[in-house]
């Protein structure tokens, strides 16, 4: 009986280490749509950034700025509008990865 419990414990820990991941969405802010142009005229662009954190030890959150820059670089001479920035975490064993996914519309005038 005891052996079975130990096996179940080890199995659960192993599963959560290698397989068991959970995701949580923290927020999805959406920017305004400006200028007032037809949405079809814009080009959809996106950028992703992430940060791996072990037991909460993180010294900066610059992955957000880097993602924002990546998004802007894809629209060199235009306006990036209607930006949706999904911020979420992917949980692992005593560690997690913070993700940010930005999607926008590049409008050139």
């Amino acid at each position: 009986m005891m052996t079975k419990k130990i096996f179940l414990f080890i199995f659960t820990v192993t599963l959560s280490t290698f397989v068991g991941c959970t995701y949580s969405v923290h927020q999805v802010p959406l920017s305004d749509f400006r200028p007032y142009t037809d949405a079809k005229s814009g080009k959809p662009i996106e950028a992703r950034g992430s940060q791996f954190v072990v037991m909460g030890f993180a010294q900066e959150t610059s992955y957000v700025e880097n993602t924002y820059k990546q998004l802007q670089n894809q629209c060199a001479n235009g306006t990036v509008t209607g930006i949706a920035a999904k911020s979420y975490s992917e949980h692992g064993f005593f560690s997690w990865t913070n993700h940010i996914h930005m999607q926008g519309l590049c409008v050139r005038q």
Binding site: P35, T61, E65, G82
Partner: protein
């Protein structure tokens, strides 16, 4: 002894940053002038009686762009947790672009209505001059 003291100081003084929220606005085509503002407050054991430190960010951005529109603003709210979460720092930072010219107001929007085949009222088509030149 010195090493132990240094290790303790390192643990106490190094903070772990966590992101609370992010917000952003549309990014203008003209990104030649950058503006940035940040504000932070040190909080001990959760004793914080107001959040007024955030208010200075808006005025800071305004000061840096007196004759233009601040656009493409990326705002971050972070917590920097120090030793055993006994004290921490709340920081709000905003980065954006100053675009010379005025912002288009609702009155500037020219609403044009197109007739529909069934005679029903069509949704207004909003056109305007570019918000910023």
């Amino acid at each position: 002894m010195k090493f132990s003291l240094l290790s303790v100081l390192l643990v106490v003084l190094s903070g772990c940053v966590s992101l609370n929220s992010v917000s952003l606005t549309s990014v203008p085509a003209d990104r030649s002038k950058r503006v940035a503002a940040a504000s932070e407050r040190f909080i001990f054991m959760g004793f914080n009686f107001d959040n007024d430190y955030v208010n200075s960010i808006t005025s800071d951005l305004k000061t840096q762009c007196p004759n233009g529109t601040v656009s493409g603003v990326l705002t971050k709210s972070e917590s920097i947790n120090y030793f055993l979460f006994i004290f921490w720092k709340s920081r709000v930072s905003a980065n954006g672009y100053c675009v010379p010219g005025k912002m288009a107001s609702a009155n500037d929007v020219i609403r044009k209505r197109k007739p529909t085949d069934d005679g029903s009222e069509a949704a207004p088509v909003e056109t305007t001059e570019p918000a910023v030149q």
